[in-house]
Symmetry: C2
Subunit: 141 residues, 2 copies
């Protein structure tokens, strides 16, 4: 049987989902490889030591990908289709940091079958990324 997520009819304002993930150096290298983003700020400890971050930081879009994971696996989940995303990168994320990602339903557009989600990622209680997503959720068959 095919995996199934939530349908549009299952969604309610205020509904939320979250996940936590520890970012590893291997994750940062894997993201650099798959994206082609080998900015030394993310990969080169000597280069990063010269910046005000003092150590390599994770790609912002790697952190953003945990929002994608929440939308694609939990809320709405399997079958959800991304329509748009805004992202503000507020603080650096470094290897070893545990990122807590959270999405919450802010609006529902029944005519279009779309859900608007407030999105945030935090590390040790401080917001590192926030934004807003719109996704299409399948209708109940």
């Amino acid at each position: 049987m095919a995996p199934t997520g939530l349908c549009f009819e299952d969604l309610r304002i205020g509904q939320g989902a979250e996940l936590s993930r520890v970012v590893t150096e291997a994750d940062i290298r894997a993201f650099a490889a798959v994206s082609g983003d080998d900015n030394p700020l993310h990969l080169d400890a000597v280069f990063a030591a010269e910046t005000h971050f003092k150590a390599p930081i994770a790609h912002g879009i790697l952190t953003a990908s945990y929002i994608s994971a929440l939308i694609g696996t939990k809320l709405p989940g399997a079958g959800a289709v991304y329509v748009s995303q805004t992202l503000q990168f507020l603080r650096p994320v470094k290897a070893g940091d545990e990122v807590r990602a959270r999405v919450e339903v802010k609006a529902l557009d029944a005519a279009k079958g779309r859900v608007t989600l407030a999105c945030a990622c935090s590390v040790r209680g401080k917001t590192v990324l926030d934004g807003e997503a719109v996704a299409f959720a399948p209708r109940r068959l």
Copy 2:
């Protein structure tokens, strides 16, 4: 010697950069692993066949990561720091598609050392993603 990108002083309105990348099934699987986004829409041909896409599609944030690569490696390049990004996912991208990503300088904020870039990705001449990025570019030493 540390790799170096463009400094804020090197940037001009209208300046652009681009790259092309063929998305592979292996890229989609690697992105699913690093993000945790295993939505079957991206990974499961049987599930995807039941959707209006008919076949698995790449994660929108994977396509967006090519924008990150342009900013982090070309414009401004090494040392650039992401401030914000908006993304509209307009059309699906599938394994085998060649994505052409392009960024162009739209505004420069000398007081903050920030550049605003129009961003777009296209496949076979049709826009699949567009948005706007703001990045910090290092000052010339």
